[in-house]
Symmetry: C2
Subunit: 318 residues, 2 copies
């Protein structure tokens, strides 16, 4: 297939490019580098099956020749208020990527009779009142909250995708992506996992907020990409959660990171931050198992081992 990937220079877009190239496909990558990083696709520069256009797909999308599939992964996605590339600091670009970008991609899919796959997110569930989250849960998002610029953009993108499927018969799929880690994850992303990995590699004590009993579920990127590609090859039109249901406490994460990196600086507990990111989220992956025959295979220790060489290189550690 000849596949367009928007956000191709991002964390997920670049891994998708790698895996789909390995499957024999031709990839047309697009990115405006607002949050994507040219380093993530530098290794593809000499690959004849990979071409790249620097482009803001919220404004315009054009691809010469036939296109078989479009994967829309362009969007700021970091919830870190301090991050310049997080959606708190790019609210309008984030909303444009979700609405105008999705609209442009769907228009291209329609005229090309191509498959469209939308990168949605567990954020559409907002601050969930049920746990774990099934795809039928309508979510708990305040449309005027500061976080809504991302959540509502993706909810809108899902609705528009279903409208093109129902009304224009476009072949669409929607993946709701939960927390993911792996090589090319931005260490400055601000979330607990990359922050602790960075501290461990620098030999510093890991910062744990509160008593560390709060939980997270993280999926290794190769598992996640495997699920997305299975969805791409499927005929499933309704949203599918893809993520790791193995919920762990932050303290367990911290201990595993120190073990895998051999960090002897221990853990320091500091006061819990104000309730900025309080929600538990854990995917119910029943649909992914039944429809895609997918579930994650890589546990945290193995995922960390596979990630650490990249992070060491980024930090300039031999």
């Amino acid at each position: 297939m000849r596949i367009v990937i928007t956000g191709a220079a991002g964390f997920l877009g670049s891994h998708l490019s790698d895996h789909l190239l390995a499957d024999g496909h031709e990839i047309i990558g697009m990115d405006n580098f607002v949050t994507g990083n040219p380093d993530n696709i530098a290794h593809l520069a000499s690959n004849e099956k990979f071409s790249f256009y620097k482009r803001d797909v919220s404004n315009y999308i054009f691809v010469p020749g036939k296109v078989d599939a479009i994967l829309h992964f362009a969007s700021p996605a970091s919830p870190n208020p301090q991050s310049k590339s997080g959606y708190f600091n790019l609210p309008i670009q984030t909303m444009k990527a979700g609405a105008l970008g999705t609209h442009n991609c769907l228009g291209l899919a329609r005229v090309q009779n191509a498959k469209f796959l939308l990168a949605s997110t567990s954020e559409i569930y907002g601050d969930p009142e049920v746990h774990p989250q099934e795809e039928s849960y309508p979510g708990n998002v305040d449309p005027i909250g500061t976080r809504a610029v991302y959540d509502e953009a993706k909810r809108f993108a899902e609705s528009l995708t279903m409208a093109y499927h129902r009304f224009h018969n476009v072949n669409t799929s929607i993946v709701r992506i939960f927390n993911t880690y792996g090589p090319r994850l931005d260490l400055e992303d601000g979330r607990a996992l990359p922050n602790m990995i960075k501290q461990a590699l620098l030999g510093q004590p890991l910062t744990v907020f509160g008593d560390g009993s709060q939980t997270r579920s993280f999926c290794f990127v190769d598992d996640l990409v495997d699920g997305i590609i299975k969805l791409l090859y499927s005929d499933e039109h309704y949203p599918i959660n893809v993520g790791n249901p193995n919920e762990m406490t932050i303290l367990q994460f911290a201990e595993t990171i120190n073990k895998v990196t051999g960090n002897r600086a221990g853990i320091i507990f500091v006061d819990a931050r104000s309730a900025r990111d309080p929600q538990r989220r854990r995917p119910d992956i029943t649909r992914a198992k039944n429809i895609l025959n997918w579930e994650p295979k890589i546990d945290l220790e193995e995922g960390l081992c596979r990630s650490i060489p990249y992070f060491k290189q980024k930090l300039g550690i031999a």
Copy 2:
């Protein structure tokens, strides 16, 4: 003020034009007539303070000269699946009006340093689990439901409006409009109230589904427009419910309609339709009362009396 009204040929847009012209303002109306009706603004053709541009504001918006305020009322709004101008049959136009149309209006407001007022809706609450609905209720909308094309478009529009307010300091207001009736309401709209008014004026028995104990709250259009204009003149940026909190059963509506129209054909009860439109919705208008000093003043009997001459004329009844 020099005020742009999108959807000016619609039910609410045309009444807003009338009231704001009466207040001494200049109105620049826009409509693409997808759901708006030229008849609704025909009486303004000779008004020197009213100008009109046939335009799809989802594509483009341009106004010569200075603009002081923009009221974005363009959107399909009827939930009737049988209506050609309902959002079930215009899903993509509806989403474009909410996202691209709102984006274009906010861009104009920003460059013109103009006030922006968004027509939002009680539909952003979806099928509510609390009753009545306060503005802080985050709603219960399934983003992939068929009704979501309207609900998510308006939720997105609210988020984008708040983003422009917070990030670009645009002076914005958001009104969440509940069920409204009055002259110029489309009798083919498909909802219970216009349907029963039409039956009564034609001397037919009124169709009530189920036992008529289901409830609705309807606001007369002059009350609603009064609330919107108070919001326009205010400095309130957070959403405000505007609607009539006086909840009545459908049976009470039917009996009042037959009384006011003198219809002696009675009421027939038929099996409840499949749960297409099951939700109760009633606004909590505490914020409108406290912030805008607004509440509805016109009861159902008076509102019907004021509406009937228009409906008779539409139906060709002397």
